[in-house]
Subunit: 264 residues, 2 copies
């Protein structure tokens, strides 16, 4: 595995005084995903967990659905290439994939943007309930885990949790890459996503909701803000969207029935 | 112009106690860019300055270079479509554009990613010099301007400045959209970009450097972190990259000769 950070020489100015120093910065690498010998896309990402990222990207794009469909994934770190073989090569929906929808946060070709597309996703019916105290505890764990962020200030984090613990955690310079790494790892390691909770450091816009809906995740919890479209989709897809989890506070934007008050 | 924010009903939990409230959230809309009758791309973005965004996107993609090339731009807010007509329709470099490079931060098809592509961009030769005190003052102005952010916590900002003042300012849910809106407005309003300074609220990864290099901008100033690839490109392209501008401090990652100490 390649290192996620790199030391660089810098000049630091403090109150107008210049000094030489060394700074730790996050690394950014290109990863080209090749699906069944066809070059699909090049992502710019953090260098860890590239197999998870390749698989998770395909999952999010709807090109890979189950562990059984996956024949294999090999990553060549040096060349920056991930080759994924799947059992059912239905032929790429080229038009769908290359109808570029450029998202606000991380640029994923959300080929399923329109209202009609929402109709193709099933509403998340999970009866998972969680208390607000459990959400605060999960976010506290989550913030503790963000190691690269603390060192460099340069990455986003995402995780899959049950109501008590963090099950899978990932960091990446792109907030959508971080989510894809989580879902890719879940598929590779047979971690069920249905009925569970996704936590994210990033803002929640529409494409995040499509990603979690595909994996049957009923709760998205962020320390940041959502967009109006993210909120509307969460409402329609049956997903509980929680934002601004900070200190002892949080704001619930949709389907708040899944969150119990701790008092009264 | 459409409103950039929307009020939504929320449930707020404070120390486990639930109350109903109203929250202001940032709006997210799709914008499809049609260039000379050909549908190019759909961006997810904030609803203000869609003409600037359409023009700036084409500028960043290398599909539009000068004011003279631009015949017209019309935006249909309701349909979410921007139609741009250019004088020289060289035919789209379809392969280049649709060779999807998905960037970490905002998903722009940086068709010019590879080392070879760096070679096609000219090094920024500007002799612009600035003092560290001027940079701190510019960032202070910049933070004061970020109105939607203060209201919603949901957007990025970018601006073009000279060494004393902010000339063009834009906000968007996507950090690259914000930069594109700035450059689009510069082209439409005949504001020169060469030798000037770009400020951004967001992290600085590789594609940001390609964008500013195309416009001859010698200084990029961010309150956040850069990536190693961003730093390397800044070095090669002759651009001064300043990060973590906070309080009285800043870190200079490349070409620090453009920044004068205030003392000694």
């Amino acid at each position: 595995m390649e290192k996620e950070t790199e030391s660089v020489p810098v000049d630091r100015f403090v109150e107008g005084r210049k000094t030489s120093a060394t700074d730790l910065v996050v690394r950014e690498v290109p990863l080209t995903i090749v699906l069944n010998s066809q070059e699909l896309v090049t992502l710019l990402c953090s260098p860890a967990g590239l197999d998870y990222l390749a698989v998770g990207f395909l999952v999010s794009e709807g090109l890979l659905k189950t562990r059984e469909d996956l024949r294999g994934v090999t990553v060549d770190d040096r060349a920056g290439v991930a080759r994924v073989e799947t059992a059912t090569d239905a032929g790429l929906p080229r038009d769908a994939l290359f109808k570029r929808v450029i998202t606000s946060g991380c640029g994923r070709g959300a080929s399923l943007y329109s209202a009609a597309d929402v109709g193709t996703l099933e509403k998340v019916e999970s009866r998972t309930l969680v208390s607000s105290a459990e959400i605060l505890a999960l976010m506290h764990q989550f913030q503790q885990r963000s190691e690269v962020y603390r060192a460099t200030g340069g990455v986003h984090s995402a995780a899959l949790c049950d109501t008590k613990t963090t099950l899978v955690f990932a960091e990446d310079i792109g907030r959508h890459n971080a989510i894809d790494k989580v879902f890719g790892r879940c598929l590779l390691d047979d971690v069920a996503t249905e009925g569970r909770i996704v936590t994210t450091s990033g803002r929640v816009s529409s494409e995040m909701l499509f990603k979690v809906a595909r994996r049957g995740v009923p709760l998205v919890v962020s320390k940041s803000a959502p967009t109006n479209l993210g909120i509307r989709l969460a409402g329609e897809l049956g997903i509980t969207l929680v934002g601004f989890v900070r200190g002892k506070r949080m704001t619930v934007y949709s389907n708040s029935w899944r969150i119990a008050s701790d008092q009264g």
